[in-house]
Symmetry: C2
Subunit: 481 residues, 2 copies
């Protein structure tokens, strides 16, 4: 039950909708109301899509309905892309449909013009829209949001995000643009696959807390990427996030750190950013990994979506290139949480045997510079030897790579070494490839093999540190069931 | 004259070489000694290339010579890609050639196996190689380096870097891999053009100080990107860099900050990393902008290569998307050097007239959120209006962009607004486009129009802050001639 005493509907009614109506559907291909229809249609969705537009017979080949009431059969989810006043009117019509037909689990309001503007008028409209829905337990996502995607059920209400790879990452965001960007960044290199995509906008009804709780229960979600500008009910957030963090990582980027930033947040989603240090404390308490930069946010999620957690903080930097290797060590130690792994004498002896005399092994601790003379075939043995060392909790592997190694063979050799361990014995392996689009093919091979790739050596260091931080938190906050 | 009393040859003899010999040239296309020949050949170079290999008649269609002495005519530059011992022998042969024919301005030693290994033996070899050259004023770049490129003269001694766009960026690096990566990162989006590329390796002879001094005098160099692990003769560096900084920006990334990192530096190029705080102070004194991350290093150089410096620290964030806009403001203010611009009443009034009612203008200060409703045609007037405001020193423009704006028209409109100012009245404009490869075409259009683009909003903030820091330093360190 919510504050007003009504029973809230479950969010799974929205994400598992079998029928979706789009109010504001447009035949014009340059309009958001058209993109929503096309994206919904392009998904692996075998339910019904109902464009609602009184002036059209069909849109994108799908039969159009003049209004919500006339849609036949059970209607689960309604998307609104019309003006704010029209949204208020629609909410009443949706309430009427619920009263008459008993359906509609929830609505997604893409439209803006509500509380985010800061005007009393906008706030009034938001309230007026919410009231008849809330009274009936119909859930509302938004307004002023991009909507939701469920790659497994095939629901997609966004005008910005076409169908995506299935996977274990779920995104919760107060910014639709940032959430959508997140997916496009990761697309070419197949850095992530998506379970659920969840933009909450002004959070008139469904808020970040509920979204995190919901994804905590989602079996397809392995890691949660959370972009927040301001959280209401901080104590509830900590409780919810802490429970989730005991099972899966929540990686967060919080903006509105400065007072000016808070001002922008106010005008963006109407949220109150609050004191940044309080957030810092709340995140730490809840085991939420807070990223310092957007790049760190993005790559930490990518890595956690594919790799196991490190069991300790002892990292080995395995490089073919001295400069990036040095930068990486430096950045690892600057995090304050990483120790360089002390390789065993056995490991060092074996590596020295198989490597060229110019190679550097364990000087300084945890640093192995293969130098350019290494052949691709040796990588399997090198990776296996280092991963088998009990003093090593994870590896960052760096390569330019020289143009003289074949991509397929190199990746095959490294993956052979990596996959020679059983799943429970695996340690994280991150891969830095610094040659821009020259290594696009190589990166894709690694990503498909489950090894996260990055362009910059210091980002890999920040990501590994975040994995260690979360692993340490989780070890000291075991779930007692 | 150098310490030993010999006259040092000028570096311009190497960068403006009219004839290049490659000792260790190989017919096998998977060998570095082959790539050097192909890259040299592919350049816009109308001098002579001489592969040296006693077992071949031609390599890549070019006549081969059995040794250095047999090369006819004047020989300016020699590249060595052979074993360390062979390099020592070659140095003596090069000295003999100099004594007999009076030519050879300098050599580039790609080979490793010298002081970087930390062994007395390696150091001995490096000395033995240098001695006969130094006695004759023949300059040595390296050993253990990638070599040099001059896009204007057409010299290219690298096995890793094919011909590149001409431009105003010069790179000096103790890591060949990082320097080469720098160029590949920037290639697809045409983010930079190159004047000189200068990897110094172990710095047996030519060091970072001399490289920076040399590029300070290079008319084609507009900004210097400097990657250093350790600098010898710190006082000389400060003096040299300070003189250069008064004319053009030097952007630096320094690794080996931590004691472990220093250990890796030792084994990489044999340099001593030194106390990091001393470097911090030296950079500040010399007006060198020190980047905190590799991404910041890269994008700061890109932006400074294309854009004018801001005259003050008052920045306007102009966005179509609230989330990334908020992140950007936040990151700007966290730098401690930026103020948000206070737009004049005239500017605000005019923007409100032409923008949609949902737009946010100047709340908070310096923040303009166009919201999705802006049309591409309006961008010209928006950009012109804000740039004309005397309270604004620079703009960061952010767009996702919505799929409903045409790329060409959008960029055309923004560039029209930007280019309506004369060159001396221009202010920096940075552009954040957060939609991954979906906006690759759009980014390229901006970059070709001279507007630097980035993927992440917080990186743009760090770059703008660096431009402001340098501008402030330069204003207080005017050149007195």
């Amino acid at each position: 039950m919510n504050a007003a005493g009504q029973v809230k509907g479950s969010l799974s009614g929205l994400f598992n909708a079998r029928s979706i109506a789009v109010v504001g559907a447009s035949p014009r291909r340059d309009k958001p109301g058209n993109h929503v229809i096309r994206h919904a249609k392009a998904m692996d969705f075998d339910g019904q899509i109902y464009p609602v537009n009184p002036t059209q017979k069909t849109i994108e080949g799908i039969k159009c309905y003049p209004d919500i009431m006339s849609i036949p059969g059970r209607l689960d989810l309604i998307v609104l892309i019309v003006g704010a006043d029209e949204c208020v009117r629609m909410a009443r019509e949706i309430a009427r449909r619920r009263d008459e037909k008993g359906d509609v689990a929830g609505i997604v309001v893409v439209s803006g013009g509500f509380s985010e503007g800061g005007s009393a008028e906008g706030e009034e409209k938001e309230k007026a829209m919410l009231e008849p829905l809330q009274a009936r337990g119909i859930r509302l996502i938004g307004p002023n949001c991009l909507g939701i995607i469920d790659q497994y059920s095939g629901v997609n209400t966004t005008f910005d995000v076409p169908p995506y790879n299935k996977g274990g990452v779920s995104v919760v965001s107060q910014s639709g643009a940032l959430a959508a960007s997140f997916l496009t960044w990761a697309k070419d290199m197949e850095q992530i696959g998506i379970s659920k995509f969840f933009t909450v906008g002004n959070m008139a009804d469904v808020d970040v807390n509920e979204a995190v709780e919901f994804l905590g229960e989602d079996e397809n979600t392995r890691v949660i990427a959370l972009y927040v500008e301001g959280i209401r009910q901080g104590r509830r957030f900590v409780e919810a996030a802490k429970k989730v963090s005991q099972r899966k990582p929540v990686v967060a980027y919080k903006s509105g750190r400065t007072s000016f930033g808070s001002g922008a947040v106010r005008s963006h989603t109407g949220a109150v950013a609050g004191n940044d240090r309080i957030y810092d404390g709340a995140f730490r308490q809840a085991g939420v990994i807070r990223a310092a930069t957007i790049a760190e946010f993005f790559y930490t999620v990518c890595a956690m979506g594919k790799q196991p957690l490190p069991r300790g903080n002892r990292v080995c930097v395995l490089t073919v290139v001295g400069g990036p290797g040095t930068i990486c060590i430096d950045a690892l130690l600057a995090t304050g949480v990483v120790e360089m792994a002390c390789l065993s004498d056995g490991t060092k002896g074996h590596l020295k045997e198989i490597l060229a005399p110019t190679a550097v092994v364990g000087e300084p601790h945890g640093y192995v510079d293969l130098t350019g003379s290494v052949t691709k075939e040796k990588h399997e043995e090198i990776v296996r030897t280092i991963l088998a060392d009990e003093g090593v909790d994870g590896i960052i592997y760096l390569n330019t790579p020289p143009p003289f190694l074949g991509d397929e063979k190199l990746v095959e050799s490294i993956l052979k070494g990596y996959n020679s361990f059983s799943e429970e014995d695996r340690k994280p392996l991150l891969c830095v490839l610094t040659f821009g689009s020259n290594v696009a093919g190589l990166r894709l091979l690694f990503e498909r093999g489950g090894i996260p790739t990055m362009e910059f050596p210091d980002i890999a260091a920040a990501v590994m540190a975040n994995m260690i931080r979360y692993s340490e938190w989780r070890n000291t906050h075991k779930t007692f069931k």
